[in-house]
């Protein structure tokens, strides 16, 4: 048996805390997102890059789905498709049910706050844009909306910093504010594109806890793109492992550790086994023997 094959075989052995999504059958509870046979190709004909190849994905309301994989595996492409920033080359993307539009919140690796607005004004921006909030924006921005923003800032540990400008805050604080902006209009779908990627380990772990808390209280559907297996297993209810060139999903599992999960749990053997399994799958699927393999 060659090494990649053996790695795949070992990875597929059952791991406590993880179970394949297929075991649930097709009954995804109240589906919110559906990618059907979606292919995305960047660039012109002969230099085209297949960012995503014939991908199928269904996500139900309230799931916290982590997309993990190396750069170029199409995980950010999936978020851009869902956010309506790009269109698929072929296939169909649907977000929401027949009841109409879904409110979406998005946060990127960079906080992308507007430098001429205070933190409060930045967080309030979606309320100015998104219906039904925008219709009442003028009347409510001083009262109800301000309370809402202050409450969110409090939850992420930013109370007292609302009147500061972005350049007066550290990277971690900006990322917290960026999360608040993604959440303020009560989105039913939250798209997070490596939101903690640029932060130091301690800030990152603290924000994991905050995000878990926010998810447990508001239960939005979250798609989290990351290349950190520990982050993915810590946060996710469901984990999709992706491989690059061409981008596709190679594994789809439910993560069934109890909540609230603690940092302590991430060092336990079951948690490590789950991380290990996901990492092995990726190592085995990449061509070449040593590239990305785990010994």
């Amino acid at each position: 048996m060659s090494r990649p094959d053996r790695a795949a075989a070992e990875a597929n052995a059952s791991v406590k805390g993880l179970s394949p999504v297929r075991a649930r059958g097709d009954s995804v509870s109240e589906r919110l997102i559906r990618l059907h046979n979606v292919t995305v190709q960047y660039g012109a004909a002969d230099q085209a890059v297949l960012a995503l190849q014939a991908t199928n994905l269904e996500v139900g309301r309230g799931e916290l789905l982590a997309l993990v994989g190396p750069s170029g595996c199409g995980k950010s492409t999936i978020l851009k498709l869902l956010g309506g920033l790009i269109r698929p080359t072929s296939g169909a993307v649907s977000v929401g049910d027949d009841r109409g539009d879904v409110r979406i919140g998005m946060a990127f690796q960079n906080p992308t706050l507007l430098p001429w607005l205070t933190i409060v004004q930045n967080v309030m921006l979606p309320l100015k844009i998104v219906p039904p909030f925008r219709n009442r924006f003028r009347a409510k921005r001083k009262g109800e909306y301000l309370d809402r923003v202050q409450h969110l800032l409090e939850q992420v540990g930013l109370s007292g910093f609302g009147e500061k400008y972005p350049w007066q805050l550290s990277g971690g604080m900006l990322q917290r504010a960026s999360l608040c902006r993604a959440l303020v209009h009560d989105p039913s779908l939250l798209l997070l594109d490596e939101p903690f990627g640029a932060l130091d380990q301690f800030t990152r772990e603290e924000l994991w806890g905050i995000l878990q808390q926010l998810w447990m209280t508001h239960k939005p559907t979250i798609l989290l793109v990351t290349h950190d297996f520990r982050e993915a297993v810590f946060l996710a209810t469901r984990l999709c492992v992706m491989r690059p060139r061409p981008g596709q999903i190679i594994d789809d599992s439910l993560v069934e550790f109890p909540r609230p999960r603690t940092l302590e749990m991430t060092f336990g053997s079951e948690f490590v086994a789950a991380m290990h399994r996901a990492r092995m799958l990726l190592g085995a699927s990449l061509s070449g023997t040593d590239r990305g393999g785990i010994k």
Partner: protein, 253 residues
């Protein structure tokens, strides 16, 4: 503290400049037909003030009218050009062509169309202040970080939402930088046009004074122009600091 010292420093230098001028003229017995002393110029300003005033008002009016028209047209054109790559590519060569014409050369044509007087001055001022505004506005819009727009697209913002909430505020530092240049150029345009073809304005007054060898009055006109120019610049520098402080924090902190 530091800024007070700076202001004091520049005030002292201005006074010193005039003092040296005065003393040098006295020491070397410079004729007031060549270079009048600052004290003589001040006396002229005081005695002939009532006569100078309408001219100053005329120049001020032409400059401000031309500047306002030029800036409004410039913002509009800049937004159109900065927003669409196609329009940018189509219009840019023509704009460069127009902007490279020396604006003084427009004055005879404007006189043909509108007659000598206020209108050529206003239009020259406008044509000179237009281009810096167009170029800066278009640059400001074209260099917006795509992430800022993506945030708005995800929220399904309308194009006007993006314009008011992101594009225009993000371009303000570029706009204000161009306004300081534009007001100075508008002033130059108005005075040049008055010098060539008008019967009022400081430019016209200086032409007449110089042909009468009334050198102190000519210099008095120059001083009035200098004061007006500095005042214009200062007003826009203050407005810039007020509205776009977020973009200049490095120099303030």
């Amino acid at each position: 503290m530091n800024s007070i010292a700076q202001k004091l420093g520049s005030a002292v230098f201005v006074l010193l400049f005039f003092l040296i001028w005065e003393l040098a003229c006295l020491a070397f017995h410079v004729s007031d037909l060549v270079l009048p002393r600052p004290s003589e110029i001040l006396v002229v300003l005081y005695t002939k003030g009532a006569g100078i005033w309408p001219h100053a008002v005329a120049t001020l009016t032409s400059t401000v009218l031309g500047f306002v028209a030029g800036v409004m047209a410039g913002i509009l054109l800049g937004v159109v050009i900065g927003y669409s790559k196609i329009i940018y590519d189509a219009l840019y060569p023509t704009l460069v062509g127009f902007s490279s014409i020396p604006k003084v050369a427009l004055v005879p044509i404007l006189v043909l169309w509108f007659g000598a007087g206020t209108w050529p001055a206003v239009l020259t001022a406008m044509s000179m202040s237009l281009f810096p505004v167009v170029v800066n506005m278009a640059t400001g819009l074209a260099t917006i970080e795509p992430e800022l727009k993506e945030i708005m697209h995800v929220l399904k913002a309308k194009p006007t939402d993006i314009l008011w909430n992101v594009s225009l505020p993000r371009s303000l530092p570029y706009l204000f930088a161009s306004l300081k240049v534009a007001i100075t150029l508008a002033f130059v345009g108005a005075v040049v046009s008055e010098t060539i073809a008008s019967n009022k304005g400081i430019g016209n007054m200086m032409m007449i004074a110089s042909s009468n060898f009334d050198v102190p009055l000519t210099f008095a006109g120059l001083l009035v122009l200098a004061v007006m120019g500095v005042a214009f610049y200062a007003i826009f520098a203050v407005l810039e600091a007020r509205f776009t402080g977020w973009a200049h924090r490095g120099s303030q902190q």
